[in-house]
């Protein structure tokens, strides 16, 4: 048996130092929880306004600017309007599940934020010498907790789609959940390299491990994969297929109205904030000040309540990135989207994990060369490029092989040509058409 190789004593390893958590008196816990809840709701209201204004600017419009200064109260007005709308429960709906679904999608979205660090340990105002970490709680498996809670959020979508008793909702819900589980895998794999370097899954320990350098800089492929996966996971453009209006009306929330619809909306925006916060925590040094500022006056900006500012700025940067994507990229086709997730992101993530672990174990052995590392990185980079582009060529070849002469009256109905096809005048005979086409390509 292999067990004889290992002595029992090795198994108790040093755990993260989480002694500062779980010490707060109950009133402080309540205050923190309420504050997190309020920050998330206000941030959602702000983000909706922000999105509309930025997208408007990108499209040479002005955007909402009537209600309140700069139109900031627009989202609040929308919320109040929604509350005053009729609450429709369709006849075909499964009433209990129909009501449960929005709750199931909104609660996990909030819960994930319980382990996100907003800042270091600070003094509590209005008390003598009480200190507390700017984080609701932490646990040795904090990031796993976030993923597990996020996976519960899928139920809101599946059940919302099913319980409406409508075809569009069911299809939208299925599509949406298939999309989310596909990109959850890529997201989960992207985090492995971070755990490898931090040696922990606790969020505060991961932020501490980035004191010298942010993981986003040394683990660039992980960061890129995570960012792509987080856009897919939150169903945002260009991956907003569940809401493809032309195909599915509104997707899983087609039948929802009033505040129940608002809850789904809230969940979507809180989820955006959550994945951004996780990206900040795992890859961008969490609440730490960016480089030139962090050096000012012995790290003055990394203490007290300053870090909250950096943390929120980094989150807003990600939110802006989300909006920028929406303003720039057209929506993907569903098969392209799934193929990208399963055929590109996952093999690349696995290869990257193996590469990182190899480099790590080499450096743990000690006495190894920098050139070694660079060589390995070069090999990995080449492997990446091959994986990314080789598959694409294969598919193109397939597409070319499948290509048939374009028939403008397929099945007796006039159809427009696909992008790669050439429309031909109908009077031409097929042989003439093919000869002109070959001349054109030559």
């Amino acid at each position: 048996m292999t067990s004889s190789l290992v002595s029992q004593g090795d198994l108790v390893l040093a755990a993260e130092d989480l002694s500062m958590f779980g010490q707060d008196p109950w009133w402080l816990v309540v205050i923190k929880a309420v504050l997190i809840f309020l920050v998330l709701v206000l941030l959602t209201l702000f983000n909706i306004w922000f999105e509309r204004r930025v997208v408007a600017r990108m499209q040479h419009r002005i955007g909402p600017n009537v209600h309140g200064p700069f139109g900031l109260l627009q989202s609040l007005a929308d919320g109040v309007k929604l509350a005053l709308k009729e609450d429709i429960i369709p006849k075909a709906a499964d009433k209990a599940v129909f009501l449960l679904a929005p709750v199931l999608s909104v609660v996990p979205a909030f819960l994930a934020f319980a382990v996100i660090p907003f800042g270091p340990v600070v003094d509590v105002p209005f008390t003598d010498d009480m200190t507390t970490p700017l984080q609701l709680t932490d646990m040795p498996v904090a990031v796993l907790f976030v993923l597990a809670v996020a996976s519960i959020g899928i139920y809101g979508i599946v059940l919302g789609g099913w319980s409406s008793g409508s075809t569009y909702s069911l299809l939208g819900g299925l599509r949406s959940s298939a999309q989310m589980i596909s990109y959850e895998v890529a997201m989960g794999l992207a985090l492995v390299a971070v755990f490898l370097y931090a040696g922990s899954m606790s969020t505060s320990a991961i932020v501490d491990a980035q004191e010298r350098i942010w993981f986003g800089l040394i683990l660039i492929p992980s960061f890129v994969i995570y960012v792509i996966a987080m856009v897919g996971e939150t169903n945002r453009a260009p991956f907003d297929l569940p809401e493809a209006e032309g195909e599915l009306v509104g997707g899983f929330h087609t039948e929802y109205s009033s505040l129940k619809f608002a809850l789904f909306f809230l969940a979507e925006y809180v989820n955006m904030t959550t994945v951004s916060a996780l990206a900040t925590t795992l890859f961008l040094g969490g609440w730490r000040a960016p480089w030139p500022l962090s050096a000012v006056n012995d790290g003055m900006f990394n203490e007290g309540y300053w870090p909250v500012l950096w943390f929120l700025s980094k989150i807003l940067l990600f939110i802006f990135f989300f909006i920028w994507l929406r303003g720039t990229l057209p929506r993907l086709r569903y098969d392209q989207f799934m193929a990208f997730g399963w055929k590109r992101l996952i093999p690349v993530s696995l290869a990257w994990i193996v590469a990182v672990a190899t480099i790590r174990s080499l450096s743990l052995d000690g006495g190894f060369d920098r050139t070694y590392l660079l060589g390995a990185l070069g090999v990995v980079a080449v492997l990446f490029l091959v994986l990314f582009f080789l598959g694409g060529e294969e598919e193109e070849e397939q597409a070319e092989a499948e290509e048939r002469p374009f028939d403008a009256f397929a099945g007796g109905y006039p159809v427009p040509p696909m992008p790669h096809q050439v429309a031909q005048a109908r009077s031409q005979s097929p042989t003439v058409a093919s000869s002109t086409a070959s001349e054109g390509s030559a």
Binding site: T2, S3, L5, V6, D10, L11, V12, L13, A14, A15, A92, A93, D94, V97, M139, P140, V141, L144, F145, L147, A148, V149, S151, I152, I154, Y155, V158, L159, W162, S163, G165, L170, L174, S177, A178, I181, M201, Q398
Partner: protein
């Protein structure tokens, strides 16, 4: 009774009660949802017993993946909203007998294996990710590698079931 014991008892009752509802409810999707409650309660019990890592794995894998697969399968075949009268339990008696037998076997195993073992909940964390990792990758290497073969078999089985044999993908 301590707080932990009370919570343990409550979670156990929730798990057992919702398990009963899984087999008695008349709507298939509701059955799947009660199953989620059962699995969640079991995760809570793991958490109480300081098996933190396993608890969240239970949520991630069973609640987040296995039941989602179940729901997909239900929705893709037949799961109308509203109860289905044809979901009767004609073979209820044999089912109860088998369930009782499984309970007896599992109960005996647990009692025989862990009788009199006391868990120190306040001591060093035994269920953390580090300890779990070290145990799996140093003591239980063979089962771990065999598991990968099981996963392989599961995927091959899924493909064979859904695609049939002999035909190549993409024609």
């Amino acid at each position: 009774m301590t707080v932990v014991e009370v919570l343990f008892l409550l979670l156990g009752l929730v798990a057992a009660g919702s398990a009963l509802l899984v087999v008695t409810t008349r709507t298939m999707v509701h059955a799947a949802l009660w199953l989620v409650v059962t699995l969640g309660a079991v995760a809570g019990i793991f958490l109480l017993l300081a098996a933190e890592f396993v608890a969240w794995v239970q949520i991630l894998i069973y609640v987040g993946a296995v039941v989602v697969l179940l729901l997909f399968a239900l929705m893709l075949t037949k799961a109308p909203t509203g109860p289905q009268p044809d979901l009767d339990a004609r073979r209820a008696l044999p089912a109860v007998a088998v369930a009782g037998l499984v309970l007896a076997v599992l109960g005996t195993t647990v009692v025989a294996g862990f009788h009199g073992v006391e868990l120190d909940l306040d001591g060093a964390v035994v269920g953390s990710a580090q300890t779990t990792g070290a145990t799996i990758f140093q003591q239980w290497v063979l089962p771990f590698e065999v598991l990968s073969v099981l996963l392989l078999a599961a995927l091959v089985g899924a493909i064979v079931l859904s695609r049939g044999t002999g035909r190549r993908g993409g024609e």
